[in-house]
């Protein structure tokens, strides 16, 4: 009797909870847009995670506090800790995916992004992999919901070679030069091997690609080999502890730091500070300059940190490489929502509508300046079939205390790279029975 009574009470409570919850959820999604953040604030990669997600949240907070949201639609988020581990990232996805009004996923992890591609494609929600991810996901005909914004690994390689060419006085001066690519022993590290071979063939330089086994805390033999080969430049395609160890070992073997050019995951303060003086003069690629002098950073400091809502515990990290990457990522997400709202109305959007927004994310330099980000990043021009968006790159040199920009904004050789990307993406499409999208498919968005 008592058991039945309890059961009845429980059923009634559940029914009441559901009847209240449905309108609450509906009203929440009526004027909110939600970002599930698969962040990593502990574990070996926490330094990058706290900077990136801190910057992203700081920008979302700026939009909420200063503008009351995007055209009245408040931005919300919650964090789920992944420790940069793929299985935890997938767990977070499962936990967060039922939340209404998801705008986009932003895991900042190649492994987690790979694990989510099929899932988010089925859910019709964009997956943003700014500066990283699958290179062939640039092809929006095959990957409608994946956006490697600003830079993919192939463009990065091309941008680095174009920078070296500019240092040497033009691409014709690359002929006869020797470049060593020192790469992390992982799928990420190996991804650009064919591209450097291709670029070497095209420009007539010699390339030698040397692997450093994970995690990269021993590089004596690799750098002694480099010393013997006497290259003109070393491209550092590192990750985590491999980067400072590369710089320290380069110093030990007498290779000059200013002839080492780091890739986009070897370009942060966390990569150079542990190397101490050995990092002085080291140059690295970036899509977003560091520093807090840009108007949008100043607004964040005044409005968000002034209100005590800043996300970084250590305010000295404001304007650091990862923090600024998070801010730029915030700008791109928010502008995609704003652009989609122009078509679908100033309301909570579906994931597919936000996808449409990303596929029309065209911010020229004037618009970037209006957003307070002039010189923080250059521009972006995403289309339905180009999900990278022709991002420009610049190069920064470490002076022992901070990064200083030492180049103009450089364009990678997209025309050279596109056929290789399409070859890979169409092979993927054939393997997975994916029908290539048309502009008409891309224009339609479901709600």
């Amino acid at each position: 009797m008592s058991y039945l009574s309890n059961l009845r009470k429980a059923a009634l409570s559940a029914a009441l909870a559901v009847s209240f919850a449905i309108p609450l959820a509906a009203s929440a999604s009526a004027d909110e847009q939600y970002f599930p953040l698969q962040s990593y604030r502990v574990g070996p990669y926490a330094a990058g995670g706290t900077g990136f997600f801190g910057g992203f949240i700081d920008y979302l907070n700026l939009i909420n506090i200063r503008d009351g949201g995007v055209n009245g639609v408040k931005l919300t988020w919650d964090e789920c800790e992944t420790q940069y581990e793929v299985e935890r990232g997938v767990e977070c996805y499962e936990r967060q995916k039922s939340h209404p009004a998801i705008a986009a996923w932003n895991p900042l992890s190649v492994g987690i992004a790979y694990a989510m591609i099929d899932r988010i494609t089925q859910d019709k929600i964009p997956l943003i992999t700014i500066n990283h991810g699958r290179t062939d996901s640039t092809d929006g005909r095959v990957f409608p919901y994946v956006f490697p914004l600003l830079l993919n690994p192939y463009s990065e390689s091309s941008g680095i070679i174009n920078y070296i060419a500019s240092k040497e006085g033009g691409v014709d001066k690359l002929k006869g030069k020797k470049i060593v690519v020192l790469y992390h022993g992982s799928p990420y590290g190996k991804e650009t091997i064919p591209i450097y071979e291709l670029l070497a063939q095209k420009f007539g330089f010699t390339v030698d690609q040397i692997e450093v086994p994970h995690p990269g805390n021993e590089q004596q033999s690799q750098w002694l080999t480099i010393r013997r080969e006497k290259p003109d430049y070393v491209v550092l395609r590192g990750w985590g502890v491999m980067n400072p160890v590369a710089l320290k070992t380069a110093q030990k073997t007498g290779f000059p730091a200013d002839h080492i050019v780091g890739n986009v995951w070897s370009n942060s303060e966390e990569d150079v500070i542990p190397a101490g003086d050995a990092a002085k003069g080291y140059v690295a690629i970036t899509t977003q300059a560091s520093g807090a002098q840009y108007p949008v950073l100043q607004e964040i400091i005044k409005t968000v940190y002034g209100a005590g809502k800043g996300n970084l515990e250590d305010k000295k990290r404001i304007g650091s490489v990862y923090h600024n990457l998070g801010i730029v990522n915030g700008i791109l997400n928010v502008e995609a929502i704003r652009i989609a709202q122009q078509k679908f109305g100033n309301r909570t959007l579906t994931g597919d509508e936000v996808r449409w927004g990303f596929e029309h994310l065209q911010l020229d330099q004037a618009r970037v300046a209006a957003l307070g980000a002039k010189d923080l990043f250059h521009s972006i021009n995403v289309t339905w079939d180009n999900h990278e968006g022709d991002g420009r790159v610049t190069f920064q040199q470490w002076d022992g205390a901070k990064w200083n920009v030492v180049s103009d904004w450089i364009a990678p050789d997209w025309a050279l790279l596109r056929p290789i990307i399409e070859k890979s993406s169409t092979a993927y499409a054939a393997e997975h029975n994916i029908k290539l999208r048309t502009p008409a498919d891309a224009e339609a968005a479901s709600n």
């Binding site: 692997e211 033999s221 002694l224 542990p274």
Partner: protein
Amino acid sequence: MFDFDYSFFLEVLVGGLLSGVMYSLVAIGFVLIYKTSGVLNFAQGAMLLFAALTFVSLVERGVPFPLAFIATFVVMAVLGMAIERVVLRPLVNKPPITLFMATLGLSYVIEGAAQLVWGTQVHGLDLGVDDTPFEVSGILISKFDLFAAAIAATMVAFLTAFFRYTRIGLAFRAVADDQFAAFAVGLRLPRIWAIVWTAAGAVALVAGLLWGARLGVQFSLSLVVLKALPVLVLGGFDSILGAIVGGLLIGASEKLAEVYIGPFFGGGIESWFAYVVALVFLLIRPAGLFGQKLVERA
């Protein structure tokens, strides 16, 4: 005709030997614990990280270098004794796999605690030793690696003298030889284990500072245990001399293999080549080069 570059070979060899000394520094911490209590302390890497992180965090907060060193030593001594008292003493007489799993769990707890106490940022650590190389007959030698080798040699000399010439050192050896016999003649095992864990904490501090100066103080520092394991297999789990010799052999062989054999496999072989060497030794000599052979009676 094959033109062999002897100078380059020598350079790789010297670099490998000096790297091997760094591996030995970590391995010695394992040996101390294993020798006296039979526990393979997988938490040694986490202790090394905790020591380096504590030291650098104190220095960054303005604590003078010697004071930071002493304070970190005290912290490591307390940590070592706490581990022995809270985790290992209740597990005395449990199977070795239980003790190993306890230290495995402990390593995660220490890493988590380190992040909780000192934060997640990476730090540079400057010990005041210039890391620029000097040249001897065309071979570049790292000043820092020589400094590390000198520290390792001093530590080994100190530990050897301690084990051989002090009463507590003799007690350590008695416990290492036969715990039950040592207990029967009145040696206080818990006290000895507490001292050994303190000593392992001190070794973790020295190794942590040297590795921290080499890699930067960051969370992957605890992964250096992976470099110590093949050294232990090769040299023996209970021999300090074995840790040194094993370190030198592993360091030299993995560097030479990377340079001369690596290109045939696409490079990047040194991390697993060390384990190949260790496995071969394990098959030929299971107790390692200097380890005690176990004689079990039926």
